[in-house]
Symmetry: C2
Subunit: 882 residues, 2 copies
């Protein structure tokens, strides 16, 4: 039997369904599914992604069995519709639309009104009794075909229309007559002839195959490839082609076309949300050329249709259990659904919808966790303009994608990329955006467009990227040539001027407005409550100051996983004592300098332990090489020598003696504490004195002392002895008992490999995956830029291992370290405190290898809570499969 390349749908029955998304593409699969649900869908058929694959694997040939299958499907449509493809009197018109397994909105091509030619346009005119409509359709076909199949820029057709409008002294397409359009069709055909030396094909079948092949080809157009690269979509999915009966929203005032979301995709509110245009074809809405009516108005204008639409909305949401993005057309009072798909939405909406649907019992909490992404959480923590700031907006548009962003104004995608690459944050300001602008949008802090609605290209793409975006800001007037825009109040904003946009309100401001983070909507807290119920991993924070600790605790941190102490020494009032300590020649002098630091350190620790009262606080002893605390330039050295009252030559020699070839692998971490035990001693004393004083105040401090850069168990043992001795002394002195632990960073391969030995002495491990990545790869983080980008470009590394944990190498050491450590000490507390601790993919790995907690920067704590829950849910999904 011949391979099935074509799947038919129509008249309430479809050969495919929503599960066949890989074969039929997203759009196709859902057309089949809707048909099966009894929803009115114009009949048609889907040519599979397999056919497209065949096309690419066979030098642009189509499978031989495809043609007869297409002809057969076409005659099924013909008999259902009672029209005939290419019939001059009663022509069946079809569209050909691309539709890949993964949504790539606007990336690939579509051609409408196929089947029209010089003869059948007259037939259509008679049939509809609407010559203007017929020639409007025909001109659309000719220009789309001319563009998509024959390669003439869209703008050249637009220019001819603009000329005609100019001639006629009108501004709107709708003001052009049938005659005007007929005349334009002639001009379009002439344009095609002039540019290509070929005729616009009059044979409908030639049109159809030209369109199908063009759709296949569009899989590999530049912007599609770009889009797949940005979104990590595999190259070998391919697109399906959907051939479907045309229905017309432009057949008069009883016709319309619209797009809608079953809920508000910006806020998540459970309100039907959409726009429509009367007497228009679908792309008029999407392109943002005319500003459409809100969907509510349809209730007044076509109440029956509105009701039918509301029923379909409910049906789709209950069926798909998610917000749907639909397209519909009303042809002479009859409703047709042309598309349904998972609605793209803002992070806020995604969270709200997930929580609402749990309450509506459409989904359970785990499904909610599955749907909310770490990026959603991150976005909700993105800054918004400080509500306390009073500022007058200079303009207001539609709030297309929430979040506040500030940057310098640029007017092209290229400039956006260029400025951003050299470190200037930019706001990309465009009349409207098109797929060509993707790169610039990606690089911009935010996007502002003069035209277009909430479902325009700019709005949809910006929401997908999580970028603040304001669209349809009609009270600005952009002049690309002058590189400026003028507001309705006459204010001129030029390229390079700083503006702030608020994607949640649509407001545009001049200057850089102060911002705050919100994340206070109840659903945000609710989804994190679900996460907390589900996750196994604990979440701590990396915090060096009481302020950071406070923020993190508010965000749900369950302790401090890493409190670095060295930052405390850089403060102006401390660096001098620190330097005295470093240049000390004897332990006595060193102790004298350290004694000056002790009360300051103690105060630091006291505040942090107080903020984290009742939660564990891991404090790491001094880590960086001492030369980091000394100046390097001759002049500064002399100045410092004067300040310290010592010979500059002596200081110079000290600086030189401390210099290192590879500081990363140098005299730092516990190596310092072993060389100068008095440093560890001072720090331990500061910690325990702080803890004892808090305890006496009735607080419950839980300090955990962490020894950095341990390579061998004996190093740890040495430092632990110092800490334990001081702890005992201080506790006796204060007469209180402090619950404490002593543990180590596992940040060297040798520590991971010999963790069984280290675990004999250490009560906890914290994987310092920043340094562990450096040593495991032999990459200096400070130098890696010289080749890392090239590595990622060439596919040698899949991603930057300093951002996302390298599972196979560094992760293997984490696995080995954890396994060997826990074998010796089953209650060993194991966490991660590298920057990977806040990165979702890395968190999933930490869950998998059995870590006890992750620790991350305060603002990543909610992300980590969610990611930890997602790890559980994903693990369960996987084990379901097996």
């Amino acid at each position: 039997m011949a391979k099935k390349w074509v799947y038919f749908f129509g008249d309430g029955k479809a050969e495919g369904n929503a599960k066949l998304v890989n074969l039929l593409g997203g759009k196709g699969a859902n057309l089949h599914e809707m048909t099966n649900l009894g929803i009115p869908v114009p009949p048609g058929f889907t040519i599979t992604t397999e056919a497209c694959r065949y096309f690419y694997e066979n030098d642009g040939k189509i499978p031989p069995e495809l043609e007869p299958q297409v002809r057969e499907a076409m005659s099924r449509i013909e008999s259902l519709m009672g029209r005939k493809f290419g019939d001059p009197n009663n022509p069946l018109l079809v569209s050909v639309r691309s539709g890949a397994p993964v949504s790539m909105p606007g990336m690939m091509d579509t051609i409408l009104n196929l089947g029209l030619n010089d003869e059948s346009v007259e037939g259509l005119s008679k049939l509809t009794n609407n010559p203007r409509f017929a020639y409007d359709c025909y001109r659309r076909l000719v220009s789309m075909y001319g563009n998509v199949v024959m390669g003439i820029p869209h703008e050249e057709f637009e220019k001819l229309i603009e000329q005609k409008k100019h001639e006629k002294g009108v501004t709107q397409d709708i003001e052009l007559t049938a005659e005007d359009w007929r005349d334009l069709v002639g001009k379009f055909k002439q344009l095609i002839r002039d540019r290509t030396g070929k005729e616009f094909p009059q044979d409908p079948w030639e049109q159809l195959w030209g369109a199908i092949k063009a759709v296949f080809k569009s899989w590999n157009n530049r912007r599609a490839i770009e889009y797949r690269k940005i979104h990590g979509i595999p190259e070998d999915l391919y697109t399906a082609a959907n051939v479907q009966t045309m229905v017309f929203g432009n057949l008069g005032e009883d016709s319309a076309t619209g797009v809608a979301f079953t809920r508000n995709p910006a806020t998540g509110d459970k309100t039907f949300y959409g726009e429509y245009l009367r007497n228009a074809q679908g792309e008029d809405v999407v392109a943002g050329i005319r500003t459409p009516e809100p969907i509510d108005k349809l209730k007044e204008e076509m109440p029956t249709i509105y009701e039918e639409l509301m029923k379909i909305r409910d049906l789709l949401e209950h069926h798909y259990k998610d917000i749907q993005d639909i397209e519909f057309t009303i042809e002479r009072g009859k409703l047709y659904m042309l598309q349904t798909r998972r609605g793209k939405r803002t992070a806020l909406a995604n969270v709200k919808i997930a929580v609402d649907m749990v309450k509506e019992r459409l989904i359970d909490e785990k499904e909610a966790i599955r749907r909310v992404t770490p990026e959603d959480i991150e976005q909700l923590m993105h800054p918004v303009i400080d509500p306390n700031v009073k500022a007058e907006p200079i303009a207001k548009g539609l709030p297309a994608s929430p979040g506040a962003a500030t940057g310098k104004v640029v007017f092209t995608s290229e400039e956006a990329a260029e400025w951003a690459d050299r470190g200037d944050p930019v706001i990309l300001v465009r009349l409207e955006t098109s797929p060509e602008d993707i790169v610039g949008m990606k690089k911009a802090e935010g996007i502002l467009t003069q035209r277009g609605g909430m479902t325009s290209h700019a709005a949809v793409v910006a929401r997908g990227m999580g970028k603040p975006c304001v669209v349809g800001c009609e009270n600005i007037n952009i002049n690309y040539d002058k590189k400026e825009f003028v507001t309705s109040t006459g204010m001129t904003v030029r390229e390079g001027d700083v503006i702030t946009i608020d994607g949640a309100t649509g407001n545009v401001y001049v200057g850089d407005l102060p911002k705050v983070r919100l994340a206070t909507v109840p659903e945000f807290q609710e989804i994190l409550r679900y996460a907390d119920k589900i996750r196994r991993l604990g979440v701590r924070t990396n915090a060096d100051t009481p302020e950071q600790a406070k923020v993190a605790r508010e965000f749900g941190a369950e302790g401090i996983g890493l409190c670095r102490t060295e930052h405390m020494f850089f403060a102006e009032d401390r660096i001098k004592a620190m330097r005295e300590m470093i240049i000390a020649e004897t332990p006595e002098d060193r102790k004298k300098a350290l004694a000056k630091l002790l009360p300051m350190q103690k105060e630091d620790f006291k505040q942090i332990l107080d903020v984290m009262d009742g939660l564990p606080v891991i404090i790491r002893t001094l880590d960086p090489p001492l030369h980091e605390f000394l100046p390097k330039e001759q002049e500064q050295i002399e100045e410092l020598a004067k300040e310290l009252g010592i010979d500059p030559d002596v200081l110079q020699k000290k600086v030189e003696s401390l210099a290192e070839f590879n500081p990363m692998l140098g005299h730092r971490g516990c190596r310092l504490g072993i060389t100068y035990p008095e440093i560890t001693e001072m720090q331990a004393r500061a910690i325990f004195e702080a803890a004892c004083e808090l305890k006496k105040e009735g607080k419950n401090p839980i300090p955990e002392i962490m020894i950095p850069l341990v390579a061998d168990a004996k190093e740890f043992k040495h430092q632990r002895e110092v800490v334990d001795r001081v702890a005992k002394e201080v506790m006796e002195q204060y007469g209180v008992e402090i619950e404490y632990k002593v543990g180590t960073m596992i940040e060297l391969p040798r520590a991971a490999l010999t963790s069984d030995e280290i675990a004999k002495y250490a009560e906890f491990f914290s994987f310092g995956t920043n340094d562990l990545t450096q040593t495991t790869f032999g990459f200096s983080r400070d130098d890696v830029a010289k080749f890392l980008n090239l590595y990622i470009e060439k596919g040698i590394l899949p991603y930057d291992p300093f951002q996302s944990l390298d599972v196979v190498g560094v992760g293997e050491l984490v696995r080995i370290g954890t396994e060997r450590g826990k074998k010796v000490r089953p209650d060993l507390e194991v966490g991660i405190c590298g920057e990977h601790g806040g990165e979702p993919r890395s968190i999933a790995f930490c869950h998998k290898v059995g870590l006890d907690y992750v620790s991350c920067s305060p603002y990543r704590v909610p992300v980590a809570r969610l990611a930890a829950a997602k790890a559980v849910v994903e693990e369960e999904s996987k084990s379901d499969i097996h």
Copy 2:
């Protein structure tokens, strides 16, 4: 039953034997063994090391059961000897000698002639009819006791003797009369009284216990502790104390005392080798105070005794199957053996004896391998004076320990250490050495003494250390005060003057004489032949030049394990092209510069491949960061810019852009080859063109290309593709086929951990354990000195992991890397090319984890061959136990 603290020997029967060495000490165990063999040994008993341990663990108390056991043993001696301990008329005299389980010659104390006092000295005088002898014995007891037990420096007693000789106008001890000695005894006792306020004890039992305790205490004297530290002897072995009937070599001309080796300990020749002194006590020989007669003379003087001694020599060698170091005393015509022990010998002797004993069927080849140490092999490769050099010695002494050494003359141990520590090689010149000189001897290049024989302290210790040593060089005259020595020809050599000594001939020269390495004795080759039969590990060499390769091949290298290519670029005629390559801004310019390097590289490779004809040659592609090839100082940069004809600012910027924070972890290794594939391409081309040309000349080149610093399989794959492509091109061009492999260094933890992935593409691995140690520990080799010594001192690390492979950490990665690699590719060739490849302990580990070969510097190749065989033998010994 009471614990047995005392083991008796005498009259052909002993309670112990040679196996009880831990309990009885080496000396004791062998006295028991000899007694059981029927060899004439003066009766006595051994107090066990357990008693000494008890002594240390109980604040200097002796076990309560010890005293009765000693008394009982003493009465057994008394009845055997027919004398009584403390009897004024017929006194039994005994010695108390230390004897630890491990030989520590001269480190601990001995007291002779115990049992004498003011009364019994008269008895002895009458009994022997030799008042001079009796008082000589007594004065020895009093001074030894005064020194060892009562703590008065030996020199103070010596000074009194010198005074007496001066008074009497004589120079030799032997010229002093009974009266003189009696007088001196009085003076000695007065000295003791003056210094300690105590009397020399007249009670023989008090003497005995004082002596026993002093022997126990001597285990922990400063020089013994020092010795154990140097030789890695555990602190908890403790010493036994041997109490033994005195026999006297100083009872007249029919008496003598001597020491001998059963073979020549310097050359290994199978000739009886020793010295004796007539009418002397043992320590007179060892101390080197009088120059003794060669043992051959005994054949003439006491032929019967000599024959008896020869029989004992054979008996001992057949019994112990090794060269023995014996002490004997002839008392009035009767031979007594006082000690036998494994003879210390030179490396040359050790090798020769091992091979000879295989031929004599005393031992098998594996035992020979077990006995020869890597240090022996290394020493035989030590330089000797170039035989072609004609030079007149300024003096000649006894050839005590072979090898030639050059250094500046110093006269004290302290100065030797001081000068050596600041980098000045020294020759330590002493009248004679004593245990106090150990540290200085260790630091010196060689030792020269004016006095003493082949078994003097200097000779024995120097042989043990493998230091060149000339002793008994009586034609020099040392003046410590003036810091000079004068030769018999009147030449004055002062402190700091450079001399060369030849420990194989005894010659002393002025100046630094050119040296060569020998290692050509047939036994050296023979032992390595045994090794080759036994070892499983292959041995290759690290060689960058044809000269090195040639040396290595002569030493038995079975290929090149690492040929670094970067050294080739530093040559003056190449560095310019190299720099042009580095500053090139485009691949074209880079290729142009590389084209200049190509013919030079090709010539390098051709020569090396030619030398190693038929053996594999692993060539590593460029490894160091490019900035290593550029100057760093402003001035040099300007100069270079002029030379290259470019703007100095441009060059300065290039230098800056290449600078790195942590070069060790920077842009180097395959990262360069991936960034600039044209470098790898040029190198591959040079290799294959060289190989093809040799092949056409009928040679058999086997190049193996090694990609450095791989962290991920994809890096390797990328570089391998370049190499394979070039190989194909060149081979087609020349029309010949070259057998080649492409493999990688495993020198990063990630490479070891993901070696299964890498082995999919790589045909061989070579562990670069230098870099692997750096990254596994996070130690920068260039910076580690800041704390490594402290770490070793504090026992945090047992040794320098850059010298001996860190088995638990770095070794674990070697194990994992090998295991995972071979799992994927069972015929994967795995070696090691770090400096550990020539270090015996590391080689044993490589054998254990199943590596295929080790690669080391040319002069370490024989060491590695032996060490590889020893690994097999040791493994078998271990599996014998289980």
